[in-house]
Amino acid sequence: MSSMTGIAARWMAGYRGTPVSRAFGSWLGKIAGGFLVLLVLTAIFAPWITPFDYAAQDLTNGNAPPGWPHLLGTDQFGRDVLSRVIYGARTSLSVSATAIAISITAGMTLGAAAGYFGGFFERAVMTVVDLTWSFPDILIALIFVAIIGPGLTSTTFAIAIAYLAQFTRLTRAQIVRLKRETFIEATINLGAKPHHILLKHLLPNAIAPVIVVGMLAIGDGIVLEATLGFFGLGAQPPTPSWGAMMSSGTAQLFLSPWVIIFPGVVVAVTVIAVNLFGDELIRALDIRDRIRGS
């Protein structure tokens, strides 16, 4: 039985437990995953662990270098950089996660419907979705800024639209592939109604790659949020955001480099951690070929 040897081989290769616990199995997964868990906890408990009020200005102590009591120094208004970086994590993570959640929900719905029903509906949906993909992310953000003004709502919608095509295409590809599987045919043979087939059999089997791509997209979303913040299209002062902090830091790049370096480093490390952990998750779920195929 080939399926038995497959399971046995996976067992030998350490395929035990849930995919997430397997992703934490390697040292890379431990480091990347550990960092992300720490980051999320930091963001959640920000009010209790920040040493200073992120918005409190102390103009007499502007551009103070890292030291005590301002561990990462202060910006030109004397605000504590560490506190702002911690609160920035809240902004970045929540905006990115919300946007990707919207994107996944809409993308899976559209992609599943397109893949399942096919025909003219499929072509119409895919054409519109591909069209959104052809716009640069910044341009999408500018459209939203023009409509509802700069801020986190615009940023969230811009990120959601920017990644919509990816999830729609991925889900559609999974559904089209699964539709031809014998067990779906067998389900039809038992008289199942279309919505039952779609919700109970097709979507659950299509969800694994979407989870991983969603994970990676959160990383990209963080970069996009920082980019928009950098251009002043995202979080508006005094809301702390990594991108906006870097933007304000450019003016004092040589006077007080810590203002731009620390948020920059945190963005970079976060995105690297997200990608490394995403890779571990792909390995743990054993779906590399399914993701490449989309």
């Binding site: 039809i188 043979n189 109604k193």
Partner: protein, 316 residues
Amino acid sequence: MLEVRDLEVAFGPVAPLSGVSFSLEKGETLGIVGESGSGKSLTAMSVMGLLPLSGGRITAGSIMFDGQDLTNLPEPAYRKLRGGRLGLITQNPMTSLDPLQKIGPQVDAVARLHLGMNASEARARTVEILGTLRIPEPGTICNRYPHQMSGGMKQRIVIAMALAADPDVLVADEPTTALDVTVQAQIIRLLDDLVKERDLSLVLITHDMSVVAQTCDKVVVMYAGRAIEHGPVEAIFDAPQHPYTQALIGCIPKGLSDDEHLTGIPGTVPNVLNYPKGCPFHPRCTQAKEICATDVPAFVQHGNGQAACHFPGAPQ
């Protein structure tokens, strides 16, 4: 119960199935035999109303089930029949179950859908059916995933799903091809017992003549999308009239002596795109004469059976 008459199926301009007729009473087992590509599975798909899925359609003939013509039945009504009064057992149990769902819910779903049972009634029924299919510890099996089970077990689960809504007709499309020999015999015996216990009508599609001899009441022999001989199983095996049927029966290994060689039929089933003129079997037939290459033979009555051959009963 089920009567198929002069069924013709087309995929665009290609007609892979024509002139297929058979009938089936309650409690009877009908065998459909033939080599790969002879149209056996296509016949099953036609009965189940699954042709539109792969782009085919019925162009002529009728499928009467309990006095109702299925050929122009609308899809929602067909959906009620499928899995309800018409059960299908598919070829490949390995891939016929959803890999992400436990066995229990998958089988339960059938009774819930067709018999309107609630979750606990459906589960009780599932456990009962799994028990009658001689599955050990049916309660535990319900909590297993398909990948934790052997092929023979999975095929029993697939049979359980087909039986869950108490069908009148069961279509088994090569139910044993994916299983190893010892399990094959068990599954065939199981199906045979089910027919007797539940007074089912079974359409057994197979390429194994010895299975037909053991279990069926009637046989239809198919070749190149046509029925070429049909009749009661004793008649067909005692005095096969069509050279193809004779050759198929000749292929059953007797297993008695050391110097016996396995026999085959030279050549292959013709491709759908160029079925030969005249009798479809004539290029491979040892008895072929000129007329076989030009005229399609009509059915000739012989005893209780009929064979479509210009020279029926000619010795090989």
